[in-house]
């Protein structure tokens, strides 16, 4: 029965390929997942929403992006091939964005700004541009959680940031080295990953959301800098440090 060989042969071939993949994947897994154990803390700035989804770098404005992206998965797998794995495919909850790429987990898989995905998007939904010009979002430091704002010294986020001195301003003083992220931030999320505080002290929100929360956030920043020592003491020792202690310092995350 020659004709039956065809199908059986190919089924066999696919079985062999399949089992090879199954057997091979544990070894492949060993290569990654330095932070496999996920943190259970509530993230920083719980009162500020992300305000939508964070796109890969070079994304067109939302409406145009949705119109062009065909959910082909090139960006997702380009990022996977680069070993960064930053891009996930959006789920069905947000039906308009279903199937389109976004950066899901900046704590463990931020965008490393290799700029390969915008270079290779076949529809130009992601447009190739210089990494300094990227506008994925805006990173905000939670002043109540950051070590640098609560009497300690920590430079991890600024060292991790690919834009470095362009973006980080420091207000050194008695209460720490007080980092502040200015509006040049491109929103890649590397600082989120390397913040040693359990659950991170930095949150990346969309540019649109930033416009909304900008005033209260900047006011809070100015208020802290202008505050008397006594008031600040109460905030740091009364409110902040207990929370910070609970979340702990994950030294292995610190950027060196």
């Amino acid at each position: 029965m020659q004709n039956h060989f065809t199908r059986r042969d190919f089924l066999k071939a696919s079985l062999i390929t399949g089992s090879a993949a199954v057997i091979g994947s544990p070894f492949y897994l060993l290569e990654r997942n330095a932070y496999a154990a996920k943190e259970e803390f509530e993230g920083p700035l719980p009162n500020i929403e992300v305000g939508g989804i964070i796109r890969p770098p070079g994304a067109l404005p939302e409406k145009e992006f949705r119109a062009k992206c065909i959910s082909c998965g090139v960006c997702v797998n380009v990022c996977h091939t680069m070993k960064y794995d930053a891009i996930a495919v959006a789920g069905i909850k947000d039906i308009r964005n279903f199937g389109t790429p976004y950066i899901k987990d900046m704590r463990d898989f931020p965008c490393e700004l290799c700029m390969e995905c915008p270079k290779h998007c076949p529809t130009d939904a992601l447009k190739n541009l210089k990494k300094e010009k990227v506008t994925m979002g805006m990173a905000l430091i939670d002043f109540g959680l950051c070590f640098g704002w609560n009497g300690d010294v920590c430079l991890s986020c600024s060292k991790a940031c690919p834009m470095g001195a362009n973006i980080f301003d420091f207000y050194n003083g008695e209460w720490g080295n007080q980092p502040y992220i200015n509006e040049n931030c491109v929103g890649c999320g590397l600082c989120v990953k390397y913040c040693p505080l359990g659950g991170s002290a930095i949150k990346v929100i969309t540019e649109r959301q930033y416009e909304k929360v900008k005033t209260p956030y900047v006011d809070e920043f100015k208020r802290l800098l202008a505050m008397s020592n006594e008031e600040r003491y109460n905030i740091v020792y009364g409110q902040n440090l207990p929370q910070i202690m609970a979340k702990g310092r994950l030294v292995e995350r610190e950027y060196r």
Binding site: E64, A67, C72, I92
Partner: protein, 286 residues
């Protein structure tokens, strides 16, 4: 002249030909699996073929986009870009040569459908819906994409997008990488739905509905690859017609030099089935 109706076993044994190594059905499965394996290599971080059959990146260099996906993206964005045009040109080039061979030689659904078809008594299948309906559907989908501002078919319904999205989701789940479980469920669901649909209405998806196939079907009208008839005496066994699951009427055009049917996917079953041992019907590039 009448012919006796043969059952499936007899039909299948008619396909036995001595030179089995070069049989088209083997060759086209080889092509399909090769493409699939190149795509699977991306999960091992090999930069061979990245993406899926809706859009991909070959050798980290050549961008490719499916022709219908191209039109949908264009309809939704109403914005022309050279990047996308450059990505669709190689695909148009390939199918100007091979016509709708995409469906028979590359599309993974053809393989899955063939497995489902195996559970069905093919000789009892009745064909009703006209393949022309598909062009209306394709045009409708372009209008919907334009109105919604989202490539509607390609993003939500496409068997190609969902097939590759499902695999990507599965791999990311297994490797503990960022992914959304609902993507896996939705895309897997679409594929399962299509397989069930295939069981109830065999090849109706391919023959009537699928806009990707319809688009490549248009290429059949001008492609180099076509069905060609060779002189000889037709046994009027009608095996060619009955082996063709795309319902192309081959035998009745036998007095013509060739056939360019929008539904022909160049699987070669008619040529293999021809009682005169592949002499009367052939796939031809000339």
């Amino acid at each position: 002249m009448s012919y006796e109706l043969k059952d499936k076993e007899t039909l299948n044994s008619e396909l036995r030909t001595p030179n089995s190594l070069l049989k088209l059905s083997n060759l086209r499965r080889f092509v399909m699996f090769s493409v699939l394996i190149f795509f699977l290599l991306q999960f091992f971080r090999v930069k061979a073929l990245v993406g899926g059959l809706s859009g991909s990146l070959a050798r980290w260099f050549v961008k490719l986009i499916d022709v219908f996906a191209y039109f949908e993206s264009l309809a939704a964005s109403k914005d022309f870009t050279t990047t996308t045009l450059i990505a669709v040109v190689p695909i148009i080039g390939i199918y100007l040569i091979f016509g709708r061979a995409f469906c028979g030689w590359v599309c993974p659904m053809d393989f899955l459908f063939e497995i489902v078809d195996g559970f069905k008594n093919w000789s009892k299948v009745k064909v009703k819906a006209s393949p022309k309906i598909g062009y209306g559907i394709a045009a409708g989908l372009l209008v919907v994409s334009g109105l919604l501002g989202i490539p509607f078919f390609t993003n939500y319904i496409s068997h190609l997008t969902n097939f590759f999205r499902f695999i990507t989701g599965g791999v990311f789940l297994a490797l503990n990488l960022p992914f959304e479980p609902s993507v896996l469920v939705y895309s897997g669901g679409v594929i399962v739905f299509l397989l069930v649909f295939e069981y109830i209405f065999p090849r109706t998806w391919c023959r009537v509905l699928c806009p990707v196939g319809k688009t490549y079907g248009l290429f059949n009208k001008v492609s180099l690859l076509k069905l060609k008839y060779y002189p000889g005496e037709c046994g009027e066994c009608n095996l060619c017609d009955r082996l063709c699951y795309m319902n192309v009427k081959i035998a009745r055009h036998i007095d013509q030099p060739g056939l360019r049917d929008i539904n022909c996917i160049y699987c070669g079953r008619c040529a293999e089935g021809c009682e005169t041992k592949g002499k009367l019907v052939k796939l031809s590039l000339k």
